[in-house]
């Protein structure tokens, strides 16, 4: 609409139309960038700039107090000889490999339950989504710790059903299940996306399958899963990356130590400890870039593999 008014206004002038268009386009470009400025400042000042700086710091010895000193690949070499680094990679790997699939299966299961229309639909959806709203917050980590501590709710439930498993927070063998439960409990975001995906599956497909005598299991594997595959792909990618970033809950529950016995030493927590407790910023920056590369490679792998299992309905195949 803005375009038409401008055209009518400039229409009567003596300026050749092409020059006028060019000038107009330049003006629009300027306006566009002007409106983008806040974002651009944020991107270059808060994301790209610091990332580049950390790439440089990864090759230095920097303790915040004295100016950084170039050390080549020393930080990276030390990383792979550092038993705690390997421990943090193991802890995070376990968490991603176990937590993400379980969370997605839970999200899909609940989404399918909620897909049937029944009374109070909206209420159920809100209730199941609620944990994700408050999910990443510090308060939930505190609540979680209180629940799984000695004599906490979980300990009492265990005693009630005759299992004396004690407090999970202090037992290195039980902290990982505790964290996986925490992430699975926050399945709301992928659930909502699954729900939207399920609504998109044409009902004719199910009807046709029913006519052909397919049972619910067969329908699920032959219709629902293939039709949902783009949504599964999206959720899997997002949740995997998200899992790598776990920090706040680990920091709170282990009191910033990664304990007990290194069992909650998540990658980002160890990175933080190296950077801000030991002031070894070069080392921490190297860790950050190793993580960036690993997550980048995984993402690439996901995209490469997607053409073998992701089915886009619009595709002519």
């Amino acid at each position: 609409m803005a375009l038409t008014t401008t055209v009518t206004r400039t229409g009567g002038s003596a300026v050749p139309p092409s020059a006028a268009r060019r000038r107009r386009r330049a003006a629009e470009t300027r306006a566009g960038y002007t409106f983008l400025t806040p974002w651009l400042i944020g991107f270059f000042g808060l994301t790209a700039g610091p990332m580049l700086a950390s790439l440089y710091l990864a090759f230095t010895d920097y303790n915040l107090f004295a100016p950084p000193e170039l050390v080549g690949f020393d930080n990276f070499r030390m990383l792979f000889e550092d038993p705690r680094f390997l421990q943090s990679a193991k802890v995070t790997g376990t968490y991603v490999l176990l937590g993400t699939p379980i969370k997605l299966v839970a999200a899909l299961a609940v989404a399918m339950l909620l897909n049937n229309s029944r009374r109070g639909q909206g209420l159920y959806r809100s209730v199941f989504y609620a944990p994700s709203l408050i999910g990443a917050s510090v308060s939930i980590a505190i609540v979680w710790k209180a629940m799984f501590i000695d004599r906490g709710v979980v300990d009492r439930i265990g005693q009630g059903i005759g299992i004396d498993w004690g407090g999970w927070v202090g037992d290195p063998g039980k902290t990982m299940p505790m964290f996986i439960l925490l992430t699975v409990w926050q399945f709301g975001a992928p659930m909502v996306i699954f729900l939207a995906g399920l609504k998109q599956v044409p009902t004719e497909l199910y009807e046709a399958a029913a006519v052909d005598g397919a049972g619910p299991v067969r329908k699920f594997f032959r219709i629902t899963l293939p039709m949902l595959s783009p949504v599964i792909f999206f959720n899997l990618l997002l949740e995997t990356i998200h899992s790598f970033q776990i920090f706040a809950s680990a920091f709170i529950i282990s009191d910033g130590t990664g304990g007990p016995a290194g069992s909650t030493l998540f990658y980002t927590l160890y990175l933080y400890m190296r950077g801000f407790q030991d002031f070894r910023m070069g080392y921490a920056s190297a860790m950050a870039w190793v993580l960036v590369v690993v997550v980048g490679l995984l993402t690439l792998l996901f995209f490469r593999s997607s053409r073998f299992w992701v089915h886009y309905s619009g595709e002519a195949k």
Binding site: F65, G170, T257, P260, D278, F279
Partner: protein, 437 residues
């Protein structure tokens, strides 16, 4: 509620005005004493670590300071210990440290080596009056000839015990001349007694004391070993550390120490503060915190165990140093504030022993020591152990914060049984090499 707040502010403002008028009329009690003579309007930033209790004490002291120095405004902030050093290091990187900071001995070297702290010596005798200080104590804040910090108070180590719990177990507190082996026997006896705390948890003798770096340092000093050389290297060997860790081996094996899995869950509290462990070594200024956290009034203190030559070889640790950022634009005003916090008798009364026993004589005298109060007991303890304090404090090397934390972390793993003593020692030394270089 709101109206009351307003009235409060009004009254405070009026009082401040009146007091300001008074002090300027009488030319101020402080400006005669060589304080900042300029009337330039100055705003100082100041920060400390600690809990709410300390914050309200600081605020009271700062209000008093601002009354006496109407041209200086103090903007205070505070944090807990861990966050405190994270924030300071980032500020140091940006050369924007606060004007005045509460500081700890362990980080002094790191900050001074890179010129982040102001040399206060030009202001000593001018704005800062240290006549009421022990010389050795003032000296502890000097690094490479620069007075970069001045301690507010002193701490020393103590054995805390809970007589109520001991009574339940029927075990006597150790005798005054006990040694480390006697203490081990005491711990084993208490844990074997089989008594239970109010909540049904078994009562243990003590947490594993070999996981705390300062106790290792105390033990080293008793062996006649100075832990740190002036050049930042260590005076102890891997064997020394192994020997110290072996001290607790039998008790760890037998499960007589306070269980680590429970201890981890109680953080930031501990077995002693939840009345499930009968004794614990710690700094003597912890008494107030122990009483508050545990709700047990009757907590007793006694000196550290005796070393091999029959001496306890204890030391006073200068604590809660005050320092100024080298980047301060108002060094004289900062020095004036530091002097006020260090030597103003009223400040001594406000803080009591919550930061340790005040280093300044006038502040010590100004404390209102009620018979049997916590402050009185801490002061009495330091007077009583003075005869055992025969050694200077080991001045922490660069990277001390990291190697201390690493010691604690490895101690936790040792108690979980995930590493051996040999692995502890080799991990610690390789980490320490990185941290102190």
């Amino acid at each position: 509620m709101q109206r009351r707040t307003f009235t409060g502010v009004g009254v405070a403002a009026a009082t401040a005005l009146v007091l300001t008028a008074c002090s300027s009329g009488a030319d101020g009690p402080d400006s005669g004493g060589g304080g900042s003579s300029s009337d330039e309007e100055v705003t100082l930033t100041m920060t400390w670590w600690g809990n709410d209790d300390r914050a309200s004490r600081y605020e009271e002291a700062i209000d008093l300071f601002e009354e006496q120095h109407p041209n200086i405004t103090v903007q205070p902030t505070f944090q807990d210990w861990d966050g405190y050093w994270t924030a300071r290091s980032t500020e140091a990187a940006g050369r924007s440290l606060p004007d005045v900071m509460q500081f700890d001995l362990s980080y002094l070297r790191e900050y001074s080596e890179n010129g982040h702290l102001l040399d206060l010596s030009p202001y000593v005798g001018e704005q800062i009056d240290l006549s009421g200080f022990d010389e050795a104590l003032v000296e502890s804040g000097v690094i490479d000839g620069a007075q970069i910090g001045i301690p507010t108070s002193t701490n020393t180590l103590a054995l805390f015990y809970n007589p109520g719990l001991l009574e339940q177990t029927g075990v006597e507190a150790p005798a005054e001349d006990y040694d480390w082996q006697d203490f081990n026997a005491f711990v084993a006896q208490v844990s074997e007694a089989g008594a239970t705390a109010e909540n049904g948890e078994p009562i243990h003798g003590s947490a594993d004391y070999t996981s705390t770096f300062w106790f290792f340092l105390q033990w080293l000093v008793q062996q006649g070993i100075q832990p740190f050389e002036d050049d930042g290297s260590f005076g102890f060997t891997e064997d020394d550390m192994r020997e110290f860790l072996e001290l607790g081996a039998d008790l760890r094996e037998a499960g007589h120490f306070y269980p680590i899995d429970r201890q981890v869950q109680l953080l930031p509290l501990g077995g002693f503060t939840v009345n499930e462990a009968a004794a614990e070594f710690s700094w003597d200024n912890f008494l107030a915190g122990y009483v508050a956290d545990s709700g047990t009034e009757d907590i007793q203190m006694m000196p550290m165990p005796t070393g091999p030559d029959g001496e306890k070889a204890m030391f006073f640790k200068p604590s809660m140093l005050l320092a100024a950022g080298a980047n301060t634009e108002h060094p004289e005003a900062a020095a004036t504030l530091i002097d006020f916090l260090l030597t103003e008798p009223e400040v001594g009364r406000i803080f009591g022993t919550s930061k340790g026993v005040p280093a300044d004589e006038a502040q010590r005298e100004a404390m209102e020591l009620e018979e049997g109060s916590i402050d009185a007991r801490v002061v009495a303890y330091e007077e009583e152990v003075a005869e055992h304090v025969t050694q200077p404090v080991p001045i922490p090397v660069k990277g001390f914060g990291s190697i201390e934390a690493e010691f604690k972390r490895l101690g936790e793993e040792l108690n979980y049984g995930t590493i051996t003593i040999d692995e502890f020692v080799s991990s610690w030394f390789s980490e320490a090499q990185l941290a102190t270089q």
